[in-house]
């Protein structure tokens, strides 16, 4: 059975007009998909495509208006399940400054486990191991505001890891970081995934989505494409029509094909393109 099952999910945000009458705005208009245990799934889409709303439905921060979300068999809309769901699925958000609550790094990482009522010795172990896991062990007694954006985001990830979840949902964790910070955060996510963590990574950087096993493309509250990065990025024209880009290697490969240079389909990375071009030249 899939770790996450989303069935016909619909989500409405409810606002009230001036007279106090509710107005629904439908952010997710009926989506279904599965996420396997131990996989790395990227969700891409424009602002307003529904991807962040979808993310918040994956750990019960938002509950479906219609349809169902099940985490390891637990229905998120059943109130008794909510703590178990949050225990299984942790979240990391976009702005590192909005997620850090303590004046000392290790206190911040301990915040979640402390709220679970865990034994202090066990908290110590979890905090140390989580900080080592994001390569921030040397900073445990530092003040978070002295750290770079990428380092702060790693602290936020350590806070999620210390909850010992089975899955982490990253909601655009790299959007506010410089290239070095982005590499660090993506590297940590991949590293956690290689150790068995299920990862859902929401991003608008296509080169980050290219690292996933599975890519879901959202637009207007619906899933427009789904598949391996190779399958999704080969549909360049559709992606462009959704105002999403493709990696430069994919763009260049398709321009060359149009000009009659024989480049095989399914090129995704620079290395693959360079090899294809040198092989075509050798013939």
């Amino acid at each position: 059975m899939s770790f996450i099952r989303v069935e016909n999910l619909v989500y409405d945000y409810i606002k009230t007009d001036e007279g106090g009458a509710p107005i629904a705005s439908r952010a997710i208009k009926g989506v279904s998909f599965n996420i396997e245990r131990g996989s790395f799934t990227a969700i891409i889409g424009q602002n307003g495509s529904g991807k962040s709303t979808l993310a918040k439905n994956l750990n019960g921060l938002l509950l479906p208006t219609e349809g169902k979300v099940c985490i390891d068999g637990l229905d998120t809309s059943v109130p008794e399940n909510v703590w178990n769901v949050r225990q299984k699925v942790a979240m990391v958000f976009q702005n590192p400054d909005n997620q850090i609550v303590s004046a000392i790094v290790e206190d911040d990482v301990a915040f979640g486990p402390e709220n679970l009522g865990i034994d202090p010795a066990e908290i110590r172990r979890r905090v140390d191991s989580a900080l080592d896991g994001v390569e921030m062990g040397d900073y445990k007694e530092k003040a978070p505001h002295m750290l770079s954006g990428g380092q702060k985001q790693r602290i936020a990830i350590a806070g999620a890891v210390a909850m010992e979840p089975e899955c982490i949902v990253f909601d655009e964790p790299t959007a506010m970081l410089d290239p070095k910070g982005r590499r660090e955060v993506l590297g940590i996510a991949r590293d956690l995934n290689s150790k068995g963590m299920t990862v859902v990574f929401i991003t608008h950087f296509m080169e980050e989505a290219a690292c996933a096993d599975h890519v879901i493309v959202m637009d207007g509250g619906l899933i427009k494409m789904e598949g391996t990065p190779r399958e999704v990025f080969s549909r360049e024209e559709e992606l462009v029509s959704l105002s999403l880009g493709v990696p430069a290697a994919v763009q260049l490969a398709s321009r060359l094909r149009k000009r009659g240079v024989e480049i095989p389909e399914g090129i995704l990375t620079d290395e693959e393109l360079v090899r294809a071009i040198t092989e075509a030249k050798a013939e």
């Binding site: 602002n47 070095k180 910070g181 296509m206 430069a248 009659g260 040198t278």
Partner: protein, 282 residues
């Protein structure tokens, strides 16, 4: 014209944690140029920008804009702000007024202009950033989307009618469409106003595509100053500073290493496609 001469800035001078953020920087920017600044986080880029509009005063050196030395203590701050408009990173966080029109009017209201002139500038600036004046003027800036908020914040700077527009990472945090739209807007403003535009970005594709001149800042020094083609030809130096090439230039460079005869100065996917196809006689 902007002329920066021997600009040096030392933070905490004379204290134990004294740091030289800018070290003897000199360069010149001609009227009407579009200039890209690149450098690692912590290289001194933001310190340099803050000198350009007088937020920071140098430890030594001068900045002369159209014959006025803005580092001179007799130069009025208001005159500097009229010359140089600085758009910070995430400028939408600085919106504070109840309506878009009031927010944009804040800067010009402090210039002692008549109400008619202020209203005219507000209308013009809002239109310059590609928003519909009548549609947005009375809305709260907080009800707008992220990309629209950023446009309003930029309009607030444009309403000062600066001769030089400086933008610190104008596309940070924006999704691909908003990213493209904001850059298009900055380019359109540049074409219409013939101003000097200076922008900082980590996106080498944008820097290569848009700039006439590229400045590379590394450890507080001006490491390179040239056209995009000149700067991005110095691959090894850039990589040693932790900076990347534009994506297309990187692919071309790898093909050159494989022994293919390709020009080094391909900066965009179109140029790269053209050059590679030519090798195949296509």
């Amino acid at each position: 014209m902007i002329e920066v001469k021997n600009l040096t800035h030392v933070y905490n001078e004379g204290l134990p944690h004294e740091t030289t953020a800018l070290d003897d920087i000199s360069f010149r920017i001609e009227d009407g140029s579009f200039v890209g600044i690149i450098g690692h986080t912590g290289s001194g880029k933001s310190t340099l920008l803050q000198h350009l509009n007088g937020l920071l005063k140098p430890s030594s050196g001068t900045i002369v804009i159209d014959g006025v030395d803005i580092t001179d203590s007799h130069t009025k701050m208001l005159d500097i702000r009229r010359k140089v408009g600085l758009v910070f990173q995430y400028p939408e966080y600085q919106l504070f007024e109840e309506t878009v029109a009031k927010d944009v009017a804040f800067g010009p209201s402090n210039l002692g202009l008549g109400q008619e002139e202020i209203d005219e500038r507000v209308r013009r600036s809002i239109e310059l950033v590609g928003l519909d004046y009548n549609h947005v003027k009375d809305t709260s800036p907080f009800e707008l989307s992220g990309g629209q908020k950023r446009r309003v914040a930029i309009a607030g700077v444009l309403a000062m009618e600066p001769e030089v527009l400086v933008l610190d990472e104008p596309t940070a945090g924006l999704n691909p469409k908003a990213h493209f739209d904001i850059l298009k807007m900055v380019q359109d403003i540049h074409v219409r106003e013939h101003n000097i535009t200076i922008f900082v970005s980590h996106n080498m594709n944008d820097i290569a595509r848009m700039s006439d001149q590229v400045l590379v800042i590394h450890k507080g020094r001006l490491a390179m100053n040239g056209t995009p083609a000149e700067v991005f030809a110095r691959e090894e130096e850039l990589k040693s500073m932790g900076l990347a090439l534009p994506e297309a230039t990187e692919i071309i460079s790898q093909l050159r290493r494989e022994g293919m005869d390709l020009p080094q100065d391909c900066l965009t996917v179109d140029q790269a496609a053209e050059a590679i196809a030519a090798v195949f006689g296509k």
